[in-house]
């Protein structure tokens, strides 16, 4: 992922206390951060919480950003780790998925939910994947990231990402196949 110098400059301004710069970073990246969280967590409300937590963490840790990766990569890595945390908490305290909570006055919300909808059997198959495999296929196949970018985001070698993507797909296909035969 080539780092737009703009992002790094904005983050440097955030460290100096420029709140507008952080708003700008959020505007650029909030869509993709949310999309990744929604596909990993499978629930809009939880994805919104994770997106908020991601940016709160990024703001607190802005001074630790070393510039070794693009700001986007750094943010998506925080997002994936935040999602892992949520999944772990969910595993300890399982709860029913919440119904989509939408503002009745916000017509665009209904359209957005419909536009983002995933076939139930595919959603179920994706949910059945172990979190590390799920994150790998979401970044690579859903978000269309290259394997090196996915590896950088997940903080693992490219070989490990390949292995997770290929095995994740295999498990997903098996799950989809089982659903079709049952």
């Amino acid at each position: 992922m080539t780092a737009p110098p703009h992002d790094a400059q904005l983050l440097a301004r955030v460290v100096d206390g420029d709140h507008d710069a952080f708003n700008e970073i959020m505007r650029v990246h909030e869509g993709r951060v949310f999309s990744v969280c929604l596909r990993v967590l499978g629930d809009r409300e939880k994805a919104l919480d994770a997106t908020q937590e991601t940016f709160l963490t990024a703001f607190r840790k802005a001074h630790q950003f070393k510039g070794n990766a693009a700001v986007g990569t750094w943010l998506y890595r925080i997002a994936v780790n935040t999602c892992y945390d949520q999944l772990r908490k969910q595993k300890r305290r399982p709860s029913e998925p919440m119904p989509e909570h939408l503002d009745p006055a916000d017509q665009s919300a209904h359209e957005a939910v419909e536009a983002a909808a995933v076939r139930p059997e595919l959603r179920e198959a994706l949910d059945s994947l172990p979190p590390e495999f799920r994150a790998a296929v979401v970044l690579s196949d859903v978000e269309g990231m290259s394997l090196p970018d996915t590896a950088e985001t997940l903080g693992v070698p490219v070989g490990t990402v390949k292995s997770r993507v290929f095995r994740g797909r295999r498990l997903l296909a098996k799950h989809l196949g089982n659903q079709m035969t049952s």
Binding site: L38, N81, R88, D141, V156, R170, L171, L172
Partner: protein
């Protein structure tokens, strides 16, 4: 099937090969390769059909509002409860703890040998005093736990907050892993991902590669656990599980031995 073959088959499924002839011939040569291609293609097509999700204007506005509300609440709360001289008292307390820690470490080093934290194991050649009796061993472990606790307190006291989200590889939770090592030895270990996938052969294969990278080529995977971090549990290949079996925990992301219980 070799790694390279799977990569080629996946590339064909993604439509990324310029010349498909050779890979198509490879796939036609065995039913296993054909099944691999079908799985990769089915999953890739299903996944790439998932639309990228968008925040609505309302959600985006709420996100910005909630974040800035959170930021405004926190600094004000800290400012009202912490006059400048309080901050210096935190620094003094931190220094006090660090000095205390140095003394404890000095005494600890001169009293007993450390257990095998962050190593794959053979400390027999070490010149440190050898602890042999089980009573001494448990005393050593308790002291090490106390040391770990002291270190954690000192770290917290000086305000290092590495844990939320960004820092990926925390120090292993020795007490938790020790308990899981005992469960492994007695065959009571409950796996995390491997249990969910019913010990999927491909995942075991993946984990085996990881423990090999960690220098445990002569070990086998017996499970995986989640304690702060995700670890593969490995024991010497072919070893019968028992009270003396060394149990290693390999960080699944870094593919490094995080702790060995001997």
């Amino acid at each position: 099937m070799r790694k390279k073959e799977v990569e080629l088959i996946a590339a064909l499924a993604e439509g990324k090969l310029e010349d498909e002839t050779a890979v198509r011939a490879l796939i036609a040569s065995s039913t296993k390769r054909q099944a691999e291609y079908d799985a990769q293609k089915t999953a890739y097509e299903a996944l790439s059909s998932i639309p990228s999700a968008q925040l609505t204007e309302h959600e985006s506005a709420a996100l910005h509002r909630d974040i800035w509300t959170e930021f405004q609440v926190q600094p004000e709360a800290e400012a009202t409860k912490a006059p400048w001289f309080y901050r210096w008292s935190y620094v003094a307390a931190g220094l006090f703890v660090v000095v205390g820690l140095v003394i404890v470490v000095d005494q600890t080093n001169s009293n007993f040998a450390p257990t095998s934290l962050l190593s794959s194991g053979d400390d027999s050649a070490s010149e440190a005093p050898v602890v042999t009796s089980s009573a001494d061993e448990s005393e050593g472990l308790s002291a090490e736990r106390a040391l770990t606790d002291t270190t954690q307190s000192a770290t917290e006291a000086v305000g290092d907050q590495e844990s939320d989200g960004v820092a990926e590889y925390a120090d292993p939770d020795v007490a938790g892993l020790t308990e899981l090592a005992e469960q492994t030895r007695s065959g009571r270990l409950q796996s995390f991902d491997l249990a969910a996938t019913n010990f999927d052969a491909a995942m075991v294969d993946d984990m085996t590669q990881c423990i090999e990278s960690a220098g445990l080529a002569d070990h086998e995977v017996v499970g995986d656990v989640e304690v702060e971090n995700h670890y593969i549990v490995a024991v010497p290949a072919g070893a019968e599980l028992g009270p003396d079996t060394p149990v290693s925990f390999v960080d699944i992301n870094a593919c490094q031995v995080a702790y060995t219980h001997e």
